[in-house]
């Protein structure tokens, strides 16, 4: 309880304008409420909520974040904001003809899934500095601006108030406990690969699958 629920992660090769905050919750009981905030586009809920059972590892998750931020910086996002872009980057679906729609469905889908299965959620939050769009960033502005947007503490407080669930560290171990492999293999079309099933060492098998998923995520949308 006393441990920090929100972890700040600095990603390699991303400008200082972008900060990644990660939090993992189990047994979330108010997923419906959280979903409403997202669908209602409540500006206070600028989070990418992700169903943790579809996440293999921090590496996979951060790959999605990296991809989303890169897309935001390049102006090639397929969804309205960087948070939804994270969700889409994780998804196995390449069909984002109507970014708006598909992003909503995606989140809707994700969230109902926890309510129907055994209620866990992973929250992954990104806060780019607001001025980022304006281009011509003077590095002097960045440190001053950042505290005025949300600090990790603010985010943590906000989440603590609104997410009713058990906060656990967002570690590979915790993620592995909730990963739903059969579902993931179905999502990412990773069945019918006899050589994978032939790998005896469970960890080695998972590593192979993780890399396949990450590679597929990298390819998606190109």
């Amino acid at each position: 309880m006393a441990t920090a629920a929100v972890e700040k992660v600095e990603l390699e090769h991303l400008p200082a304008t972008h900060t990644v905050l990660l939090a993992l919750y189990r047994n979330v009981v108010n997923a419906g409420f959280l979903q409403e905030q997202l669908l209602g586009r409540n500006a206070d809920f600028e989070y990418a909520f992700v169903d943790a059972s579809t996440v293999v590892s921090r590496f996979q998750l951060l790959t999605a974040v990296h991809k989303a931020v890169t897309a935001e910086m390049a102006g090639t996002m397929r969804t309205p904001n960087v948070h939804s872009e994270v969700v889409v980057s994780l998804s196995s679906n390449n069909n984002v003809g109507e970014p708006m729609q598909s992003c909503r469905y995606e989140m809707h889908d994700q969230l109902t899934r926890y309510t129907t299965t055994d209620l866990r959620s992973l929250q992954e939050i990104r806060r780019p500095a607001r001025h980022q769009r304006r281009g011509r960033r003077q590095s002097a502005h960045i440190p001053r601006r950042r505290p005025s947007s949300l600090s990790p503490d603010d985010v943590e407080k906000h989440l603590q108030t609104h997410v009713q669930g058990e906060s656990v560290p967002c570690s590979d171990e915790e993620l592995a406990r909730v990963t739903d492999w059969p579902k993931l293999r179905k999502y990412h079309k990773l069945s019918g690969l006899p050589w994978i099933d032939a790998i005896k060492d469970e960890q080695a098998k998972k590593n192979e699958l993780e890399m396949l998923i990450v590679s597929a995520m990298a390819m998606r949308g190109t």
Binding site: L11, H13, T70
Partner: protein, 289 residues
């Protein structure tokens, strides 16, 4: 300067800002952002691209980042298209190999507009280096050569040759798998194949995280063959192309033998010159026949 006039409606990609004058070449934009692991290291430079070793997402995960810089002599639109096409084609091939269980680097990320492809960093050393060193070690272990001749020739029966035979077999298997997956490599040299230490020996190769402490590891050609650099690869099942792959490999492997031969035998250049004659003659005969 005489740069071609770009058509009005076409927006050329912004040139990479080379504000980092510490570097010899303009870095791809992604490498101009901060990294806790320090600056990227240029590993090799080819005609088409540059390969950097850098970190990916976290400071401890290494990645091989391939950058195909834009060519100033090409029309910007054509340049962007070619770069995009080549990056995507390489990425698709890596992905396909991976799915088919061919040992290749995993794909981490692509930014085709910037001409950047990020892949898993494969630990270990190229086959060429490993074989050379193996042969050198053997020459040292058997210093009693006749007339200055070392033991460059390695036959199946000879004691101690098993690791090399094993390596050759694994190379054959790797190429076989690649072709079975419907991929033709296009540049199958011994530099484009890595010997990745087996998982159980991983502890021995930790030195790779630092800069260049690669020599501390004692190995004997043991490891998995990982084919790298699919920049010239294509998807296809033409036996002609596959045969060309094998031809290139044959030449590459024999080159290793010849290198060690030259190092051990003083009169090697004369013999090698003669070898050229023999090759020519051989070819002429077969062409006549």
């Amino acid at each position: 300067m005489a740069t071609p006039e770009p058509a009005a409606a076409i927006q050329p990609p912004p040139p990479p800002a080379d504000s980092t004058s510490t570097h010899e070449f303009p870095l791809p934009p992604i490498l101009q952002h901060p990294s806790a692991a320090g600056p990227a290291k240029l590993i090799t430079q080819g005609a088409e691209g540059r390969l950097y070793r850098t970190s990916w997402l976290t400071p401890t995960r290494l990645c091989a980042l391939k950058h195909r810089p834009s060519k100033p002599y090409r029309h910007p639109t054509l340049d962007a298209r070619l770069t995009r096409h080549r990056i995507l084609s390489e990425a698709r091939i890596l992905q396909k190999c991976r799915r088919e269980g061919v040992a290749v680097p995993a794909l981490y990320g692509i930014d085709e507009s910037q001409g950047v492809l990020s892949m898993e960093w494969v630990p270990g050393r190229p086959v060429r280096v490993e074989i050379n060193e193996f042969l050198r070690r053997r020459a040292e272990n058997y210093p009693h050569g006749e007339g200055g001749r070392g033991r460059e020739e390695v036959t199946r029966d000879e004691e101690g040759a098993a690791p090399l035979v094993g390596l050759m077999r694994r190379i054959g298997e790797a190429v076989g798998k690649l072709h079975k997956a419907g991929i033709v490599h296009g540049d199958l040299t011994t530099s484009n194949m890595m010997v990745r230490p087996w998982e159980k020996d991983k502890g021995l190769t930790k030195g790779h995280h630092g800069n260049g402490q690669e020599y501390e590891v004692e190995r004997s050609l043991e490891g998995e063959i990982v084919v790298i650099d699919f920049g010239l690869a294509s998807q296809g099942s033409a036996d002609e192309d596959r045969a060309v792959d094998l031809y290139v490999l044959e030449q590459a492997l024999f080159t290793v033998v010849l290198e060690a031969y030259k190092e051990t035998f003083k009169a090697a250049p004369v013999v090698l010159k003669k070898l050229e004659d023999v090759r020519m003659r051989g070819r002429k005969r077969s062409m006549l026949g």
